[in-house]
């Protein structure tokens, strides 16, 4: 066990705020989220498009670019607050790719079309592990082999356009785990692929990350994906975490009306045939100058007068270990 943050976890994000200044005002994309990831844990981050999932992950890596900025909070990783490093400092660069790596959602655009696959894998090996060209090449072949690319040695000198989407995502996974990072952030890693390839690649990704003993943060809007693999879930809405807990607690005892809405809008095998799916009405709120009340209020089927006038509630424990929810309607009622 390495050094850990104040509460003994490998990654602890505390009260993180990220905002984007645009002409219309300030977009509060990440609005004070706190979460933690343990070693070798698989954590799911779930929410609609634009709820701040990706931005929160990019903030951890300090990859937020103008007009965005990290407005506050702490990111403890192995006992160090990463936000104390300057975004382009050598320390931060050593973390990126070396200790925390990221797998992006678009395999078609996440590889540089003018460099060979081999170069793109060996680059980080040489950068972070100080390997020489020959060692890095051997390791790259090994990695491509692990992610199931046939005749890896001969494909090392091919360019990305000579690979299909699924193959490119395999290459992305190989790059992501190349330096055996402590944590891999996969940002909707399977969105661009078709269903059969999705399942294969998720299994592959988990096996590969498991082999290098890393943790995985799975950012997705696909509840099916996290249900199968994640140990703990964070449900995000409008830049805040509205519910967190163990995967089974959230699936069996969803507490926040938003989580309930999400679960009702995906097909389930354990329910009667012919049951209609229930969508969540409306659209996610505008994050420019949001009102202080619960951001889900306008779409919430259980809203009350209290929700309208009082500020967004704190995360409160409900039934289940570490199961927290941010809703007035659950206070006391089903409390732990």
């Amino acid at each position: 066990m390495c050094e850990a943050g104040p509460r003994g976890r490998m990654l602890e994000v505390e009260d993180l705020y990220t905002e984007f200044k645009i002409d219309q005002g300030i977009v509060h994309a990440v609005n004070g989220i706190s979460y933690a990831v343990d070693e070798r844990e698989i954590v799911g981050m779930v929410g609609e498009s634009g709820c701040g999932k990706t931005v929160s992950q990019l903030s951890v890596m300090q990859l937020i670019r103008r007009p965005g900025r990290i407005a506050g909070g702490k990111v403890w990783f192995e006992g160090v607050n990463l936000l104390e490093y300057r975004p382009n400092s050598p320390e931060m660069r050593a973390i990126r790719g070396g200790k925390i790596s990221m797998i992006f959602q678009e395999p078609m655009t996440s590889l540089n079309p003018t460099l060979t696959i081999g170069r793109q894998i060996t680059e980080s090996l040489e950068l972070h592990l100080g390997m020489n060209k020959k060692e890095a090449r051997a390791r790259a072949i090994e990695l491509l082999d692990q992610v199931g690319i046939p005749s890896a040695a001969s494909r090392l000198d091919d360019y990305p356009h000579q690979f299909s989407g699924g193959m490119r995502q395999r290459v992305m996974i190989a790059i992501g785990v190349a330096c055996e990072p402590k944590m891999v952030i996969a940002d909707e890693p399977t969105t661009a692929l078709d269903c059969t390839t999705q399942a294969q690649l998720l299994e592959l990704m988990l096996a590969t990350i498991d082999r290098c003993q890393g943790a995985l943060v799975l950012v997705t809007h696909n509840l099916g994906v996290v249900a199968r693999y994640a140990q703990r879930l964070y449900i995000m809405y409008a830049g805040k975490i509205v519910e967190e807990g163990r995967c089974r607690d959230i699936f069996y005892r969803p507490s926040h009306p938003y989580t309930i809405g999400l679960l009702n809008s995906v097909p389930r095998l354990d329910e009667a045939k012919g049951k209609r799916l229930v969508p969540i009405w409306g659209t996610p709120p505008n994050l420019i100058d949001p009102p202080a009340r619960c951001a889900f209020y306008p779409r919430c089927p259980e809203r009350t007068e209290r929700c309208r006038v009082e500020p967004w509630p704190e995360l409160k424990p409900v039934e289940g270990e570490g199961h927290l929810v941010r809703c007035y309607m659950r206070e006391g009622g089903r409390g732990a």
Binding site: I95, R96, N112, L115, I175, T196
Partner: protein, 312 residues
Amino acid sequence: MSDVSEQVFVDQSGPDQVPYGRPLDAEVARPVSEWRRFLRIFFQRKLVVFGVAVLVVLVVVAIFAPWIATHDPYRNDMSKALRSPSSEHWLGTDSLGRDTFSRLVYGARTALIVGFGTVAVASVVGMILGLLAGFLGGWVNAIIMRVMDALMGFPMLVLALLLAAVLGAGIHNVIIALSIATLPAYTRLMCGETLSVKENEYIMAQRAMGAKSLRTMVKHILPNAFQPTLVLVTSMLGNVILAEAGLSFLGIGIKPPGVAWGSMTADGYRFLEAHPQLSFAPALCIMVVVFAFNMVGDGLRDALDPKLRGVL
């Protein structure tokens, strides 16, 4: 209560465990070689073939000038001034008795040195500035691009004239003047390309792998952004040679002992009626060479344009 994942969700079957087989040959068969496709489109136009031929001849002449020239292009011999074309002096001699053909041959050197020198200096500096402006953005971008805007405010030749007049004549100064005058085109092109390439996900992926800004710029943005500059370079070559001829014609280009087609045209101007070849021969050279460069530039543009893929 059994495991959640076993009960609730759809994809229970798990992934296909069959190991990936060797793909069929058809799947890995390579497409038509990019290089061949390029050559085929490039040489499709007869004028491009002509342009390339002229350029090859020009380069050969420039390199082997001392062997091709029949006389010393710099030696004055007033006793032989203003001879008509003959077997000894193929294009006659000028007012100082210098062999016109030999001077044309050496003029090719000047034209090429100025042409390639200028596009080399201007494109390299312009690409660096454009890359910095586009990649760093903010005040770096503002300063570089406003300076370029100011330079673009002047017509290219007027600016070159001004700079050449300030710097003085001479081949280095001509290259500097023309480089500065053509710099904005490269900078703006590169800046625009950088801005669009920068938004690609692989640049973000690269930063997520911990790459330095410099590395990202040089290894990842530059190779994806320099192709339009390549086309600009070839189309600029003709313009630059023409501009150099103009400066030399006006007497602020290449200094008198040096040989330039522009100044030869100007020198022969006084004897236009008696010895028209003194002006026409260098002028024709300028015309043919500039035309050839422009044709090659056009051909290159077509061959590199992805929109024309499959059409030609």
